[in-house]
Symmetry: C2
Subunit: 142 residues, 2 copies
Amino acid sequence: MDRVRIFSDYLERKGLKTTNQRNVILKAFLNSRSHCSTEDLYLKLRKKHPRIGYATVHRTLKLLAESGIAIEQHFGDGQARFEPARADGHHDHMVCIKCGLIIEFEEPQIEELQKQVAEVHHFKISNHRHELYGFCFRCADK
Amino acid sequence: MDRVRIFSDYLERKGLKTTNQRNVILKAFLNSRSHCSTEDLYLKLRKKHPRIGYATVHRTLKLLAESGIAIEQHFGDGQARFEPARADGHHDHMVCIKCGLIIEFEEPQIEELQKQVAEVHHFKISNHRHELYGFCFRCADK
DNA sequence: TTAGATATTGAAACTGGTTTTCAATATCTT
DNA sequence: AAGATATTGAAAACCAGTTTCAATATCTAA
Ligand SMILES: [Mn+2]
Ligand SMILES: [Mn+2]
Ligand SMILES: [Zn+2]
Ligand SMILES: [Zn+2]
């Protein structure tokens, strides 16, 4: 289903209202490069919509995360980043600690193993974070 | 080698000084329950050493992390937690999002797979985080 | 041992991303 | 169209963490 629809359904279910700002922010978010911070998106929006406030951008990103359209990431630099959830499912990240490059990866065997480990401890996983920090191909050989 | 010695060697190597506060904080940290925040350790210390300041506790925990004696963790509640590094090596965590219980796990196969994934992308891992969030055995069945 | 150089300390101020407040405005329901 | 309710943007508050600074402690070299 269309993500615009998913969002308006979510809003209705929660007794919230559809507004112009929310629509504009949703569209800009979906077209944005991945892993953008509130600040990133706010600055990008400001060009065409100078009256939208930072607080509204951040509130809307939180709503998008709650509705499942956005995934909130924390890569250790102290600011939240958001990326559109993918239809093709979950992925994890490698983060270059020199240049900031983010590489995405999927490894079904790891997912399976972590599921097994959780079962051993009678732990019910609701989500997880798996991040590799280090040097990308470009930064590795200095 | 004794961790007290490791720390004083580290301080000397960096041109820093051995002080009473640093010794007291190191000992309290090593005896503390794992995964304690600066606040946790500060409050614990205050009973016997009411003149030690919060800033000194936090500065010392950072030094302990730099020297390899402590590992700094972030479990998504916005505050850093520290645990003594183990002689028996690395481990990862499951965090109960209801009661806060932290379960530690080691899974060499996952470590090996993540190493392989990194190699495919010519990425040189310097450290990683792998955390499972969900419900512990006690909280799972409500 | 002592004097000078240097680092540390604790309290308080500051930082920066995030969250909340609040009065004005927009949306929704009848 | 009017009343009820939610949203908005600017500014203030929040809060873990970090920095500042004058007083104090540690270290080094006579
Ligand atoms: Mn991603
Ligand atoms: Mn641990
Ligand atoms: Zn890089
Ligand atoms: Zn629990």
